[in-house]
Amino acid sequence: MRDIQQLKEIARQLRIDIVTMVYNAQSGHPGGSLSAIDILTVLYFGGFLRYDPTNPWWEDRDRFILSKGHASPALYSVLAKVGYIPHEELNTYRKTKGYASDGYSRLQGHPAWQGNRHGTPGAEASTGSLGQGLSIAIGQALSGKLANKNYRVYVMLGDGEVQEGMVWEAAMFAGHHKLDNLCAIVDNNNLQIDGDIRQIVNIHPLPDKYRAFGWHVIEIDGHDYNQIINAFEEATNTKGKPTMIIAHTVKGKGVSFMENNFKWHGVAPNKEQYEKAILELSAGGV
């Protein structure tokens, strides 16, 4: 059995790392990192993603791609926690100097692939320009099938990101090719930069759309650990179709004044706000 209390404790620590990184850099995207982190926690610490931080290029590893690359603090905090990178490296996020071979940072504003000169060990693709991750995940999933490997590919998209046409070109292809080694997650926090997605250009009903494209669709509360665990289990057991997990989440989750407020998409907290956030997250021990 998975220890949910333990997972939640990990996520609490990761939330502190996320807010701290953005505060230290005075730049970055806290809202979408905080909405995504419970799902990433279950994926990396709940026994679903198979990986080896001592061997980032292990051929049989499962892949996770953060298509909504601006949530890089969420990914970087996880990669540090599992040991791909040292924890103190998180201080180099969005800074000029860091741990890359040429002295620059390996924690770029948006993730760079681990094969990139400024990439992060454990990062499976360069993202940041929205809409590209699902297609990349498909390529990696196809390659696994071609090589008779049983690794799985996971990819997380933002709900605003789903407005990109390329996402639907990819959805059509994955359904057509019955890529059951592919699992996508939409971080459905209802917000994009300019406001509420349902008011800007509505993407819903999402489940019906993906079903029509040949996907197995699961809808969950993206902060409910039992539901996240069950969804990943169901995805793993689903044959003959790619799986789409539509996770209903709260942007800024865990920091009261950031929750459900699109203004916290891409701004850093000041000192006072940072201290308040840390206080909440420290007290908020599950």
């Binding site: 320009s129 605003g160 407005q163 046409g165």
Partner: protein
Amino acid sequence: MMAVDIKSLPKKALRDTYGEVLVELGKIDPDMVVLDADLSESTRTHKFHEAFPDRFFNVGIAEQNLIGIAAGLAYTGRTVYASSFAIFLSGRPWEIIRQQIAYNKLNVKLVASHGGVSVGQDGASHQMNEDISLMRALPNMNVIVPADSVEMEKVLKKIHWIKEPFYVRMSREKFPIILPADYEFELGKGYVLKEGNDVSVIACGVMVSMALQAAYELEEEGIDVEVINMSSIKPIDRELIVKTAQKTKAVVTSEEHSIIGGLGSAVAEVLSEECPTILVRHGVEDRFGISGPAWEVMEELGLSVEGLKKKIKQALDKKSKC
């Protein structure tokens, strides 16, 4: 104009001017429509949205659709503005821009914010250093890179009435205001900001103010620099380029853009055809940017007054050996 210490000048972001002028134009031109792709606060088109909610459309995160819709609106005779970050406005939908807006010479103004590496922390994925090159290659496309907010306003008020495609490129940061209030922008014309006899710097965007500063500092070393603002990159002022080259016999181009395909290349084309001259291109070398605070990244990539002074001296050195 004399060389000036730009550090003392007031600053303003071009995108702030863009938002204000859009509203002014909206009042006098009822046919005008503005589009954005989920970056309206950053590009400042939200100002137009607030003033004219019926004539503003946010297409969401869908830049190809943005351009397609802009084209459709323009086919029906409207003046259309479409904005996003330079990378997403010129990069993602490039082929649609080519097929619709350039090929049909449509009345669409593509106004990009966040050009170049001064985007800073967002990093290489968001730092567009190839847009001038991409846009300049398109037949029918006019390409303008204003030097400050005064010029931004003059550019918009002039090109609004020219029923042709334009790509106007802004950066994110505030630029020093270097042009006088009575400055007039003319399409296809460069502007001599400071006359000089030893070497010519032809610059665009924020590098124009840095060129002025470099000229000011080099004056003390006895180097007399001519500074030209070449905001109109296409069409370009061939006559002025030849004239300054014939006078100083050494040219440095300077831009917050790749040295491949942008202003440097445009000037090189003119010089090689008309009057081969020593040329040094100052800009982003053939590489990607990095994350970091805007001016730190600029400095790191050599896009600073010091970096430009080095290139100016290189040009003088080459000239002396020629």
